[in-house]
């Protein structure tokens, strides 16, 4: 550790703990608390990456998270901020984007041709011939800048854990510098719960490298934070965004259990205290390793005890530059020259390629050195303030954009450097006053919310809104306006965009700041403008001969800091729904079928055999996902009349009826059967995918159009396990397990409902309906007993050939019978007539959903129809989605459902056809997916098996 200094008073490294890690395959030592960059810099490493476009060597610039020159690959994690990430034992760190090595980068040849690659050069060439562009594209891709993501095969889920947490602080303080800490303490003292979020690894902000003068103040502030009740501190955490109603996202890094955590806060007050970000200076060679900001110097020296160079030249425009000079001198760096920008000093050029050799001053003098330090001004990171609605304005006197706190909503306040300057005492006083206001406003919001919420105990007295006493204004110090020297240099270090590029863009007509940025890609890289945005605007202003104010404002889009997809996603939470019979399906090798959130058995290995069992004997299918709604009240018939196409006024107790619902545009919405169980009790079923939609649809009619109707709806889909027992021998089977219901066809005919005891389970509902076209009983069993009844049925029906059938067999059975599936045999434009449902539409009812559209459809004849098709070649099964081709070559319809029928031993097909083709007996042509054509004839009805319905009614 050749560049490691002797122990520094404020250092954060623990010299008692030495770790090792590798950098590009070589082992390096580090102390606990070192960042990757500080450990490497302590060992004399100066180059950490290559730049994006020209592959110029890059060293440390800010020595912070924002450092654009220190993006590295750590294990399988790309784009790690090496100047922020702490070294862990055994860490494998590699440089990114270098070939063959960091020291010798072949792509650096781009530097030599840079003059031919001006901003936007790629727009100006390779327009043709067209076939050459893809080849060039591949070359461009090689220059993609960044690390590598792991292959799926090598990705270990357990090494990549992320989670999330919701918090509800009264006050959230973004930034743990002096003002932020003071705000947190004052808010807590006023009774608020506080979340204090700090980006760095410790609280303190710039006090951490402030030296002797502020050391005791820092200790005291930290002590107050620690002892104050109700403050939770998150370090190595960043507020990413402020969204509607103070919904604030925070990423928490460096946790032992998870890679990253997303903290989602509903903050009653947000205090924005991010301090200031030091701004680089634009001049020729400003990206040569060895050029760094004054804050980088102080971080390296004070926090990590690393000597940034041997011989330095400092360009200082402010006290922080002077302090950096002091720090350098203190640790024995030879400060060869200090150029004071406040007195017109300037530097115009750095000499050297992979390291600083010398610097040329404004007056032409040349000074040999290996370190150039600039302190030319600050950027206020107003991101959270702009997200809250503030529009930052340029303040020429302070040489930075500032946000006017008056533009902020009541629940957002700002303190510290982002607002103004001032002594430490002034900053702390401002923070405290801001914290108090934040706490008071939060208390008022909390009282309002609790008063509106039925869970909290009601407030005793009326709400008292407390008057604000606004914090005193912070002074704003004058600062010289320094953006660019008279030479051109890099403006956006991550994107390798120079000031010359911006000038070119403006000259070519891209005068708006937004256009110039887009044309050059300035501010689009990983740093997202935090370092360069003000310089960019200043240079565009200069090029367009406008003022900075006229040129624009700084735009900051969330997130403020990059955040992993893993943290945003959190742990995987995708609700799934399981039937009470699922364990049986799993144990019997059912092939699972994902249907919405439900997992269903598609088949048990032999769908055709399952079909035959139903047609010939008896089969059982788990239909639990069918939606079920308990409807109760005297006005249920009115509701049914309104939502169904057909009439429901006279449904007798014990009867079941089929109904179809349409939306107000007449398009088919859902279908199902509804039973009348008692005088004012009904049980409605819906399709399984439509269950939630139908429930909301009914509630919508009741709540918004007919609030006077007396109907209660209770969703009971999974109160029952639903088992359909289908087949000619179903009655025989059901009789064996049901004692208290007369199953005689006359006593319990088709489309009737009974309640009874099944296999010892009371309160079961039995319907006689038949989606499969067979005699069948649908048993709705209290869900906890579903498995018992299912197993009892299978056991009782062994000699009848009873077996389970899955969704696939059911689809075949219903298709043979010509029963449609809403959403498959209908689409988003199918009105009732197009689904073969004209007969259900009762236009003599005064009102029902979609009535006018269906009345108008009834008057025209040219709408598409659902028909059955019989292919000329019975072995041909046109795939669902196959198109029917009209005589003119256009599309005349499509196959909506098709299967090989085990019952008929030929294909069965439903299709939606144009009216002109949809006559029984007409021959149509189907385009098969392999390009061949087959013919088919439109059948008389939709049902191919038992069109008379004898089996069903048996």
């Amino acid at each position: 550790m050749a560049m490691r200094l002797e122990r520094q008073p404020d250092e954060v490294v623990d010299r008692d703990v030495t770790l090792t890690f590798t950098w590009n395959g070589r082992t390096y030592p580090a102390y606990a608390g070192d960042t990757i960059a500080s450990a490497l810099a302590a060992c004399g490493v100066r180059i950490f990456s290559r730049s994006f476009k020209y592959h110029r060597p890059r060293g440390l610039l800010t020595a912070s998270y924002l450092d654009p020159g220190c993006m590295v690959q750590v294990g399988d994690e790309p784009n790690v901020r090496g100047a922020h990430r702490l070294v862990e034992p055994g860490m494998r760190v590699r440089s990114q984007d270098t070939w063959p090595s960091l020291a010798v980068d072949v792509k650096a040849a781009n530097q030599l041709v840079g003059r031919f690659l001006p901003a936007g050069f790629y727009y100006k060439t390779f327009m043709g011939p067209r076939r050459l562009w893809p080849a060039y594209e591949r070359v461009l891709e090689r220059f993609a800048h960044g690390g590598e993501i792991p292959d799926l095969s090598s990705y270990q889920r357990q090494d990549h854990r992320y989670d999330q947490r919701h918090v509800h602080p009264d006050v959230l303080v973004a930034g743990g510098g002096p003002a932020g800490m003071a705000a947190a303490v004052a808010a807590a003292a006023a009774g608020a719960t506080v979340l204090l979020v700090e980006e760095e690894h410790a609280l303190g902000g710039h006090l951490r490298w402030g030296g002797d003068d502020v050391r005791s103040a820092l200790r005291e502030l930290r002590g107050r934070v620690e002892t104050a009740p109700g403050i939770e501190v998150l370090t190595d955490s960043v507020v990413l965004g402020r969204y509607d109603d103070n919904w604030v996202s925070v990423v928490q890094r460096g946790l032992p259990t998870v890679n990253e955590r997303l903290v989602k806060a509903r903050a009653k007050s947000l205090v924005v205290a991010p301090g200031l970000v030091e701004r680089p200076y634009v001049f020729a060679g400003n990206d040569v390793p060895g050029v760094m900001l004054s804050t980088a110097v102080r971080r390296l020296v004070d926090l990590y005890a690393v000597k940034p160079g041997h011989r330095a030249v400092v360009l200082s425009a402010n006290p922080d530059g002077d302090a950096a000079t002091e720090a350098l001198r203190r640790v024995g760096v030879d400060v060869a020259h200090v150029e004071d920008a406040r007195r017109g000093g300037d530097i115009v050029r750095v000499h050297g390629r992979d390291r600083v050799r010398a610097v040329e001053l404004g007056d032409g003098r040349r000074v040999d050195c290996d370190l150039v330090v600039t302190a030319t001004g600050w950027t206020a990171p107003v991101s959270l303030l702009t997200m809250a609605g503030a529009v930052p304005a340029y303040d020429a006197r302070a040489a930075r954009f500032r946000a006017d706190p008056a533009q902020l909503p009541d629940n957002v306040l700002a303190t510290g450097g982002v607002v103004g300057d001032g002594s430490l005492d002034e900053l702390v006083a401002h923070g405290e006053a801001t914290g108090r206001v934040a706490a008071r406003r939060a208390a008022a919001v909390g009282r309002r919310w609790r008063a509106a919420s039925p869970t909290a105990h009601k407030q005793a007295g009326p709400l008292v809104e407390v008057a604000d006493d606004a914090p005193p204004a912070l002074p704003v110090d004058p600062h010289p306006e320094l953006f660019r020297a008279r030479t051109h240099g890099i403006v956006d270090f991550s994107e390798d965009v120079s000031s010359a590029d911006l000038v070119t863009a403006v000259a070519e007509g891209y005068e708006s700041a937004e256009l110039a940025k887009r044309y050059t890609t300035a501010t689009m890289g990983p740093v997202q403008g935090k370092l360069e945005t003000v310089n960019v605007i200043a240079i565009i202003a200069e090029a367009t001969r406008r003022t900075i104010e006229e040129t624009g404002t700084t735009t900051w889009r969330p997130p403020y800091a990059p955040v992993t997809l893993g943290a945003l996603a959190g742990p995987e939470r995708e609700p799934v729904r399981r039937s009470p019979l699922q364990s049986w399906h799993d144990a019997h090798a059912a092939t699972p079928l994902v249907a919405g959130a439900w997992i269903r058995p598609d088949h048990y290995g032999d769908p055709a055999g399952e079909v035959r069992a139903v047609r010939e004997g008896v089969g059982l299918i788990d239909v639990t996902p069918i939606g079920k709604l308990d409807l109760h009240g005297p006005d249920v018939p009115r509701l049914l009349n309104l939502v169904y196409l057909n009439r429901w006024s006279k449904l007798a107790v014990g009867r079941v009826r089929y109904g179809v619902m349409c939306a107000e545009d007449g398009v088919v919405l859902d279908d199902g059967v509804t039973a009348r169980l008692g005088e004012s009790s009904y049980l409605m079923t819906t399709t399984s995918s439509g269950a939630a939609t139908v429930w909301e649809w009914l509630e919508r009619w009741l709540q918004t159009e007919h609030p006077d109707w007396r109907v209660h709806i209770t969703p009971v889909t999974t109160a029952y396990a639903s088992i359909n027992v289908a087949g000619p021998r179903s009655r025989e089977l059901v009789r064996r397990v049901v004692a208290d219901v007369d199953l005689d066809p006359d006593a319990f005919p088709y489309m009737h409902v009974r309640t009874g005891t099944v296999a010892g389970v009371a309160d079961c509902v039995l319907w006689r309906i038949g989606f499969t076209g067979e005699l069948s009983y649908e048993l709705h069993v209290p869900a906890g007993h579903g498995l018992h009844v299912w197993e009892a049925l299978l056991a009782a029906g062994g000699d009848l050939g009873a077996r389970a059938f899955g969704v696939e067999a059911q689809r075949i059975l219903r298709l043979e019978k010509g029963h449609l599936i809403v959403g498959q045999d209908t689409d988003g434009l199918s009105r009732a007539g197009s689904a073969g449902l004209e007969g259900l539409v009762k236009l003599d009812k005064e009102d029902f959903a979609g009535r006018p559209e269906l009345a108008w459809q009834d008057q025209q004849r040219d709408y598409p129809r659902l028909v059955g098709l019989r292919t000329t070649d019975p072995t041909v099964v046109p795939v669902e989605g196959s198109q029917v081709v009209a005589d003119d070559g256009g599309i005349g319809g499509r196959v909506t459902s098709s299967r090989m029928s085990p019952t008929l031993d030929r294909s069965v097909v439903l299709a939606q056809l144009d009216a002109s083709l949809a006559h029984a007996g007409s021959e149509v042509t189907i385009a098969m997916v392999d390009g061949t054509r087959v013919t088919a004839v439109v059948t008389a009805g939709l049902a191919q098996v038992d069109p008379e319905g004898e089996r069903l009614h048996g």
């Binding site: 969204y243 509607d244 109603d245 919904w247 509903r266 609605g389 919310w449 609790r450 008063a451 509106a452 919420s453 039925p454 869970t455 107000e664 545009d665 909301e696 509630e699 919508r700 709540q703 918004t704 159009e705 005064e846 009102d847 029902f848 009535r851 006018p852 559209e853 108008w856």
Partner: protein, 87 residues
């Protein structure tokens, strides 16, 4: 994430609600002309600014409610018909 002022549950995250949009009065289904009916189906004012809209508290009390929202800022207030319902 916006807070929707549910008149029954208090302020809740918008993600708990379904947005049903600007309410349109339903014409008389027996007398409406095609223009009137399709206006009801398809035409909305699409205001840029404060407007009234309906939401459904799907994850909560399952009640429909009205709010006033400024569509340019997403500032939400309870609709006047709900103000004073619950104190």
């Amino acid at each position: 994430m916006m807070l929707i002022p549910c008149p029954w549950c208090g302020p809740r995250d918008a993600a708990e609600f379904a947005y049903l949009g600007e309410p349109a009065p339903r014409p008389d289904p027996t007398a409406a002309s095609p223009e009137q009916w399709r206006g009801y189906l398809y035409l909305r004012h699409n205001v840029a600014g404060p407007g009234t809209e309906r939401w459904y508290h799907r994850m909560g009390c399952r009640r429909h409610l009205l709010v006033e929202r400024d569509t340019t800022t997403n500032e939400v207030r309870p609709h006047r018909s709900h103000v004073g319902d619950e104190s």
